[in-house]
């Protein structure tokens, strides 16, 4: 097969670039330790997630070690529980694992301006672990269409100074 010299050069350059892209993603996973949303959250009963042993009453819980917290969030038409009627509160300088599921249709869970961004799928639990350094306030939005009130589905997340966070806020 006859391939022009420039074309061959281009082909090699394109392949090199593709390998480079795959390399950066691999580095992100292995080197930088970026964890994808995957199947580790397990499955729950879509109509009553809290009846399943791996999903608790929505709210903030102490994690496996000091400074770690687990936040259980239920997404449903058109609320985040907690998050919408009252903000999710976690202390600064902490590691937080969000456990998100839905009890009706597919929703999205996005912490605006961050890379905390996952689908809330009925029957599945999404887990995302992140570190919060500074006190800050973030918006929460549902970024997957979920019904005629989709645009009202929002909330907020407050990362508060550690001194302002008390154990009474923990379930």
């Amino acid at each position: 097969m006859h391939v022009h010299r420039f074309e061959r050069l281009w082909l090699v350059a394109a392949l090199a670039m593709i390998v480079l892209f795959i390399g950066t993603v691999t580095y992100g996973a292995v080197g930088a330790g970026y964890g994808m949303v995957d199947d580790t959250g397990g499955q729950v009963d879509p109509t009553d997630a809290t009846a399943s042993e791996n999903f608790r009453e929505p709210g903030v819980y102490n994690g496996s070690e000091p400074g770690h917290y687990d936040v259980y969030i239920e997404a449903k038409q058109f609320l985040f529980v907690p998050g919408t009627s009252e903000p999710v509160r976690v202390p600064a300088n902490s590691t937080v694992t969000f456990h998100v599921t839905s009890t009706d249709v597919i929703h999205g869970f996005e912490v605006v301006g961050t890379n905390i961004n996952t689908m809330a799928v009925p029957g599945q639990v999404a887990t995302v672990t992140v570190e919060f350094d500074e006190p800050d306030e973030y918006g929460l939005v549902c970024n997957e269409y979920c019904g005629s009130g989709h645009h009202t589905m929002e909330g907020s997340l407050h990362v508060v100074p550690a001194a302002q966070f008390t154990q009474t806020e923990v379930n």
């Binding site: 097969m1 006859h2 391939v3 022009h4 420039f6 074309e7 281009w10 082909l11 394109a14 670039m17 593709i18 892209f21 795959i22 993603v25 992100g28 996973a29 970026y34 994808m36 949303v37 995957d38 199947d39 959250g41 499955q43 879509p46 109509t47 038409q77 009706d104 249709v105 597919i106 999205g108 996005e110 605006v112 301006g113 890379n115 905390i116 961004n117 996952t118 689908m119 799928v121 009925p122 029957g123 599945q124 639990v125 999404a126 973030y138 918006g139 929460l140 939005v141 549902c142 970024n143 997957e144 269409y145 019904g147 005629s148 009130g149 989709h150 645009h151 929002e154 909330g155 907020s156």
Partner: protein, 563 residues
């Protein structure tokens, strides 16, 4: 040229199917574009008098389904019918069979559209505000799914019709190389048969029975996975008619001929093989899918860049060759020698340029980890309005300026409007898409009726939210104007008198510089490539789908909404 017989004179039956398909395609484009401007103005808060925010989603569903499925794929059936007859030099075997698949597709499209627009009329009990992705357990009226199924079966029969024509030609021409256009049609359709399997199973076994009340619940993750099994390859099904035009017509429009026929074949084989095993890259943010499968999809997706990179080279090289044939000189000076005043050329070239930009934002989407930053934000529609909304759509419009006179025997009307139209589209998309990309980086979600929220403000890195919204509104308005200008030219031509004036198009397609004889024969062994494609799909999807159905195909069981 007036002295050359137009396509319609040589193949009246194929020309009729092409005209019918294009008629439906352009009707869908008109309605879809009008819905587009309603959305652009509503969600940017510029003008909200037409619909309520709750009805926005029916409009959005209509925009997505009419443009992404019906405009694009009726155009595809039109241009592929033309390409089959043109490249083989024969009619399709049975005009009645061709008409039958067209009518099946058409009635399916009408059913689906009826269900969607029923949602805007209070007294009608239909609705289908489930968007183009129709994720279960959100539920539409059964008419929506039944229409999609009928339409899909119609596309399968259309493919069978073209492949049957090829088979007849093969019997009369044993040992000859498959003509390039026919090769592209066959590989595209084989990809389509593999890819649509997912959505066919989803609709026929789960969503239609659910909407009819025959089953009580579905597994949302399984149906979503079946959707995306189809959902990414359909992207290439939109793009293949554009590639088909860029490879076989654009070189001639730029004054030259195709650079390399063998590499064009390699590109289509790569699309056949790699298009389907990438669907999990739409599910990077999904729980319940192991990271490993996402990684496999990511590597496949990155390799799928290869055929597009090769296309970029071939198309630009063919254009440069054409420009130099026309007397262009210099490193970049040859660009000036291209026929920028000819609407068919200008549209294809501008579409190609936008596709390059869209390709780069697509690489971000494919990057498994940085994807989290833009997943389901306005970045995503910003991206695909460059790919399907420009690379495909603008090429389809541009090539119609060249093709439509040949299949009608009528001279193109309103030529001045046709000359300006691709530039209007280009500017409109430039404004809308760049603002969408930037808003996405600030975290603005896609698919929502409201520009802002009560509990927080978006903090863009560059520019202000008000400025981005204004750009989206102006861009969306220009795009609608561009679509209507195109439709005006087409309707004007359709109504024009036949045989008056020269056709102003030359239907001859020159031979490539490097022809099919330079390519190894194994490229034409489509059966082999089909088998490889199926094996790759089984590797990418076999285990994940098995693990989702191992605990029962309806488990975890989510009931439908609204009930």
């Amino acid at each position: 040229m007036s002295d050359r017989l137009a396509f319609v004179d040589k193949f009246p039956s194929a020309a009729r199917i092409t005209r019918l398909s294009m008629g439906v395609s352009f009707t869908a484009l008109t309605i879809g574009a009008l819905l587009g401007i309603v959305q652009a103005l509503h969600r940017t808060n510029v003008f909200r008098g037409v619909i309520s925010s709750a009805d926005y989603y029916s409009v959005l569903t209509g925009h997505g389904v009419l443009l992404a499925l019906f405009f694009t794929i009726f155009f595809l059936t039109g241009i592929f019918t033309w390409g089959t007859s043109r490249s083989l030099g024969r009619e399709l075997p049975s005009p009645r069979f061709s008409l039958a698949w067209f009518l099946l597709m058409f009635s399916g499209a009408v059913m689906t559209a009826t269900a969607i627009f029923g949602g805007l009329v209070g007294q009608i009990p239909f609705s289908a505000d489930v968007l183009y992705t129709f994720y279960a357990p959100l539920q539409a009226h059964p008419l929506f799914y039944a229409g999609l199924a009928a339409w899909l079966v119609g596309t399968w029969l259309a493919g069978a019709d073209w492949i049957r024509t090829y088979y007849h030609w093969r019997q009369d021409n044993p040992g000859e190389r498959i003509p390039l256009q026919m090769f592209m049609i066959v590989t595209t359709m084989l990809m389509w048969y593999i890819a649509t399997l997912g959505v066919a199973v989803e609709v026929l076994f789960f969503l239609l029975p659910l909407s009819l009340g025959l089953i009580e619940s579905v597994d949302p993750l399984l149906t979503r996975t079946l959707f995306w099994f189809f959902g990414h390859p359909v992207v290439y099904f939109w793009l293949m008619p554009a590639y088909f035009a860029w490879y076989t017509v654009l070189p001639k429009l730029s004054g030259g001929r195709l650079f390399s026929d063998p590499l064009a074949r390699v590109v289509f084989i790569l699309f056949l093989i790699l298009s389907t095993p990438v669907g999990f890259h739409h599910q990077y943010a999904d729980p319940g899918v192991p990271e490993g499968f996402k990684f496999i999809a990511m590597t496949n997706t990155m390799f799928l860049l290869l055929p597009s990179f090769l296309t970029a080279f071939t198309v630009v090289a063919s254009m440069e060759y054409g420009a130099r044939q026309r007397g262009g000189t210099g490193y970049l000076g040859w660009l000036r020698a291209l026929p920028w005043g000819k609407p068919a050329f200008a549209g294809c070239a501008l579409a190609g340029m936008m596709f390059a930009a869209g390709g780069f934002s697509g690489i971000i989407n494919a990057g498994m980890n940085i994807n989290s930053l833009i997943h389901n934000t306005l970045w995503v529609p910003g991206h695909f309005h460059l790919t399907v909304g420009t690379a495909s759509a603008l090429t389809m419009m541009a090539i119609s300026y060249w093709l439509y006179p040949q299949i009608t025997g009528k001279r193109l009307q309103f030529y001045g409007i046709a000359q300006v139209q691709p530039y209007i589209w280009f500017i409109g998309m430039g404004l809308m898409s760049n603002a969408m990309h930037r808003a996405g980086l600030a975290g603005v979600p896609r698919r929502t009726a409201e520009p802002q929220y009560q509990q927080f403000d978006f903090a863009p890195v560059l520019g202000s939210m008000a400025e981005m919204r204004l750009q989206i509104a102006i861009g969306g308005t220009l795009l609608t104007l561009g679509a209507l200008m195109f439709v005006l030219v087409m309707v004007g031509t359709w109504l024009a008198e036949r045989g008056r004036g020269r056709l102003r198009v030359d239907s001859h397609l020159p031979e490539p510089i490097s022809g099919p004889s330079d390519s190894p024969r194994v490229l034409d062994n489509v059966k082999l490539w089909f088998v490889i494609a199926v094996v790759l799909v089984v590797i990418a999807y076999g285990f994940p789908i098995y693990s989702m159905v191992a605990d029962g195909a309806l488990n975890p069981a989510a009931p439908p909404f609204p009930v």
